[in-house]
């Protein structure tokens, strides 16, 4: 599994893990994000069961297992959190932050040790070392209980399925040509995102944030002006169409 550093400061570091060459062909590729401070680490959307072993092996390059104190699940899908039953035994003292709406569902993945920390609809925030991570509501994009993670200091928005693209082959990490990239995103957003109202509300709120990087759970990451281009494109897109 490839690991790339997205941000590094004295207080914390962002690393994206993904593009696993050993991934079974029919499984959708996912980006997992590790944020680590000197003594703590959080994994955002740790991924599915199939990815657990390469993820564990990849993460141990960067962090001691006992330092993984927190997991975050943007929503309840299996590609996001079906590995929970395995993490539950690997980091039994960790906490899982996830939408309150999905607690009874996510527990089906197996959770005897990890503590479920329900995130209220209006969002919230946690501290990781000296860094603050904000849970930004992204309900109905696509899941009815859904959050992004915003780091005001790193100016990174982990946007979950928003901005996701479906490409095959050895895909670059960053979007370099937005117009060309639309073909990989358009169907996904039209089909998976059910509500124009929720989408417009999200766009309005996210435009208020200072963002250098928008990091989705699938496909390429948006950097610099590509973020604004995405927001403009997404604002105009008619979603909820099969």
């Amino acid at each position: 599994m490839k690991a790339t550093e997205l941000f590094n400061s004295e207080s914390h570091q962002w690393i994206v893990l993904g593009r696993d060459p050993a991934k079974p062909e029919k499984i959708i590729d996912t980006n997992q994000y590790l944020i680590k401070s000197a003594e703590e680490a959080i994994i955002l959307d740790p991924g599915g069961i199939e990815l657990f072993s390469p993820m564990l092996a990849g993460i141990l390059h960067h962090v001691q297992i006992d330092n993984i104190t927190t997991l975050f699940a943007s929503h309840q899908d299996p590609d996001i959190i079906s590995s929970l039953g395995l993490w539950d035994k690997t980091v039994p003292n960790a906490k899982l932050y996830a939408p309150w709406l999905w607690e009874g569902f996510i527990r089906h993945f197996g959770m005897e040790n990890i503590q479920y920390m329900p995130i209220k609809d209006e969002g919230g925030e946690i501290k990781l070392g000296h860094a603050i991570l904000k849970f930004i509501p992204a309900h109905y994009l696509h899941s009815s209980g859904n959050f992004n993670v915003y780091d005001p200091s790193a100016k990174i928005l982990m946007s979950g399925d928003i901005g996701a693209s479906l490409e095959h082959g050895d895909v670059p990490l960053f979007v370099d040509n937005f117009a060309e990239h639309i073909q990989y995103m358009e169907y996904f957003h039209r089909r998976w995102m059910p509500s124009n109202r929720a989408k417009n509300n999200w766009v309005a709120r996210v435009r208020e944030l200072d963002i250098d990087m928008m990091a989705p759970q699938h496909g390429r990451i948006f950097k610099g002006e590509m973020v604004a281009e995405f927001l403009e494109w997404f604002a105009k897109l008619d979603v909820g169409i099969a």
């Binding site: 069961i49 072993s53 564990l56 092996a57 141990l60 039953g85 395995l86 690997t90």
Partner: protein, 205 residues
Amino acid sequence: MISSHQATMAINNFVRVANIITNLDTILSQAKNLSLTAKNARVVALRAGDAAFGFKPITNFIDEFSTQTIKTTSEISKLSNQLFSLALAVVRCTDLQHQLNKANSIKQHKCIVTLQQQSLCDLKQKTRALEQAIFSLESYFEDIQKQMRSAEYIAVTSRVEASNAGEFSHSLESVSDFITNSARKIKTAVNENLQEIYELRGALR
């Protein structure tokens, strides 16, 4: 080190536990029917008066062993929840072992080795607990088997008594037939479960 064969075995064991629990329904429903039959037979025997004098204590016997079977089955039901969660825990531990082995082949790290050792220890502990629960389960089924042997004996005795009950013979003979059939069904379910337990113990060894 857990192989994919061992992972399959863990799943198969889980299916065996599920089969055992499914058979419990058969045992419980037949035992409840037996209890009901005992009550009906008592009414018929009362009506028959002296003609069914020998049948009255038999109905008490039927009631006694059916109540005992219901009680034993209820105890097994309580144990079955524990069995299911232990079998599931064994599957999960085995799965974790399998994933950790894969992680170790990607990157050798002392932390992964520690996790492998911890998870193997956990697996052994859960397997031992499962073995213990299976041992208790076996003794419960052996109890039911004994009760069903008594039921078969009573079915034969009751048929003799029923033949002396004059106009009530037919009703009481159908009670005897019912006891025979129920006891047979319960015995079959118990034998199937003992076979599953036997295989489960072999697989866990």
